[in-house]
Symmetry: C2
Amino acid sequence: MLKQKLNIIKIGGNVIDDEKLLTSFLNLFSSIKEPCILVHGGGKLATELSKRLNIETKLVDGRRITDLETLDIVTMVYAGLVNKKVVALLQSNNCNAIGLSGADANIIVAKKRQTDAIDYGFVGDINQDSISVNTIKKFIESNLTPVFSPITHDGNGQLLNTNADTIASVLSVALSSIYDVHLYFCFEKFGVLKNVDDENSVISIIDKNYYEELKKLAIISNGMIPKIDNAFDAIAKGVREVVIGHASQLNELINNHAGTRIK
Amino acid sequence: MLKQKLNIIKIGGNVIDDEKLLTSFLNLFSSIKEPCILVHGGGKLATELSKRLNIETKLVDGRRITDLETLDIVTMVYAGLVNKKVVALLQSNNCNAIGLSGADANIIVAKKRQTDAIDYGFVGDINQDSISVNTIKKFIESNLTPVFSPITHDGNGQLLNTNADTIASVLSVALSSIYDVHLYFCFEKFGVLKNVDDENSVISIIDKNYYEELKKLAIISNGMIPKIDNAFDAIAKGVREVVIGHASQLNELINNHAGTRIK
């Protein structure tokens, strides 16, 4: 049977931090006729709040070390402030959004990361078995649009901080069992660029062979490599395509007229 | 047709602030077999966070004046920190809780309070028409337990702060159209006391006549009067009973063995 199309769209921190870009993105998002899921990060707000409260922000390889105080902050900012603001804005566009953390309806059960070289603190790792696919399906069938903040739980009462890119990828893989999932990473760049200084040099398609070549030529930067590795991993596990592009071009990304497609 | 029983349970700020009491309350709550809705306030956390951020807390008659900065704080604390912690704890007891603000699934649409003598800021007023009864019914029929934070929205993208007692009462009235609603206000007192210094002097039943008498004799304190007025109002609009009692006695309150019943 033909699976129904489902768009899973992740917006990066820079979109959250830019009120104008966020509003125009949410307008575009609300106009999509197909079922959608939105996944958001937190942007600079959590770091700013930590600063105002004199709590040190520790990052290792771009990942936040989440002690208990920091967990409270990301829970407040991601699952509270950002999630509810985004939901209220979507509602004003007649998009029937429902804000979710992984604890809500037991929808994402994570495992606290084991301490080895680095103690990441209250960080949750997930895989496709962590996702309650049927609950999400029920929401979508009720015409609700799930909006995920990157907070999960361990099922034993402990909230955990989980990377938003990872949530978007893992949701995509899990939901590929019943949907034709297209995964979009929207940020403030127009896609993967051949020349970082030229916004017009967007590479429109990257397959495995081309990716190896681009890496050899050092055209793809270090920050992009884990994103693209994750994209290929998601595709290997059943996701139809992964598209990387600018939040202001959401329609074009969906209609195959912009961004970088990874196949 | 006989309506199904629904328990709507409000916990006060003092329960939120007392980790031990909160945990034991949530254990009791999770053991209830009938459908339940939980409504929580925020306790002292919002005021404490405001203090740490050097934002002045302004209260008029116990109501928080909600400017934009304060709205961000209550959204973070109520809809983020408190709501998600409560949901995660309920999940650990196998209670399939789902945390909601009024914006989520468009479930409570409020009106920003008009400015007259006092400008309360971003405070939302609601009545029974504000409630999306069918959405709540769907959640309950899916065996989900809604957990409401006292944040609503106006439908035009603006979040609003709404009194949690009011949310519990208005939800109860609205849901009385399809459920046999019993409303419980749980806090750190054993009920309405005949003698404020004697915890054993709980008045078990208050009807309209007795209430007038108690007011005349100044036995009921000023703080309790709006609560009881609201209770009688809820009953006049279809709620079966309103019970006031201690959070540690939830089972006894439900089984008619403790607290003050208003009929």
